[in-house]
């Protein structure tokens, strides 16, 4: 099923998915989403003052992302630092925060799976492994 773009007609939240949320998570209005084009979504998302995310903000975002999850950001600060350098280099050179420990295939859909954080829960380096970690080691199972 193809994912499409949706816009909340009340607060302009943008959603990308096969179906819109029933309840808008921001304004809490029911059945508020209308389908829009990718181009229109790009205009909504590309405007305003906060169009880029600094490295420190991304670092804070992934820390918040791990809260309540069974994994955490790797306590190895040097490793995290190197990986974040790679992630930001890849965003600058290739458009997305691709994992520095894999290689994009040049297939759009396939390469979206390499954007950090990726769905590492299904990776053989993490799934069912006591000391599991994502392929690059940015996220590790919480002890």
């Amino acid at each position: 099923m193809k994912k499409r773009y949706w816009r909340c007609f009340v607060c302009n939240d943008i959603h990308y998915g096969i179906a819109p949320p029933e309840l808008c998570p921001t304004c809490k209005v029911l059945h508020a989403y209308v389908e829009i084009s990718a181009e229109e979504a790009r205009k909504f998302l590309g405007g305003g003052p906060d169009t880029t995310m600094a490295r420190g903000d991304f670092r804070a975002a992934i820390e918040r992302f791990t809260v309540g999850n069974e994994f955490e950001v790797n306590p190895d600060a040097a490793k995290v630092d190197l990986l974040l350098t790679g992630v930001f280099e890849n965003e600058k050179n290739h458009g997305f925060k691709y994992c520095p420990c894999r290689l994009r295939t040049k297939n759009w859909e396939e390469d979206l799976k390499l954007v950090c954080p990726c769905n590492f829960i299904i990776h053989e380096t993490y799934k069912g492994i006591k000391d599991g970690e994502c392929w690059c080691g940015l996220f590790v199972r919480r002890k």
Binding site: L82, G86, E89, C101, R102, L103, H123, W135, C136
Partner: protein, 94 residues
């Protein structure tokens, strides 16, 4: 001698850990690797992509670094592995 390539990424910590092991192996044996960086060199990246059918089944169905490949037999292994395992794989290729 077989052409052995180590595909690696400049900001990949696993690659950074494997590079000294590769150099140690080269110092102790006739094994030689071409070390090709793939995130900052599109030609190297394309070469790695050209071996996708050989690499992916050994690497979680993806192109991952580090990857070691024999370009003739297409035998490949990937990831952070210990010295003995790397040595065993490499000596099998020469």
């Amino acid at each position: 001698m077989a052409r052995l390539i180590m595909f690696h990424g400049r900001e990949c910590p696993h690659c950074k850990k494997m590079l000294p092991l590769v150099e140690k192996l080269e110092g102790e044996s006739p094994v030689r690797f071409e070390k090709l960086e793939v995130w900052h060199d599109e030609k190297n990246a394309d070469l790695m992509r050209s071996f996708r059918e050989a690499i992916a089944p050994k690497c979680g169905n993806q192109l991952r670094v580090p990857t070691f490949i024999n370009t003739e037999t297409k035998d490949a292994t990937c990831g952070e592995i210990d010295y003995e395992k790397l040595k065993e794989w490499a000596l099998r290729q020469v």
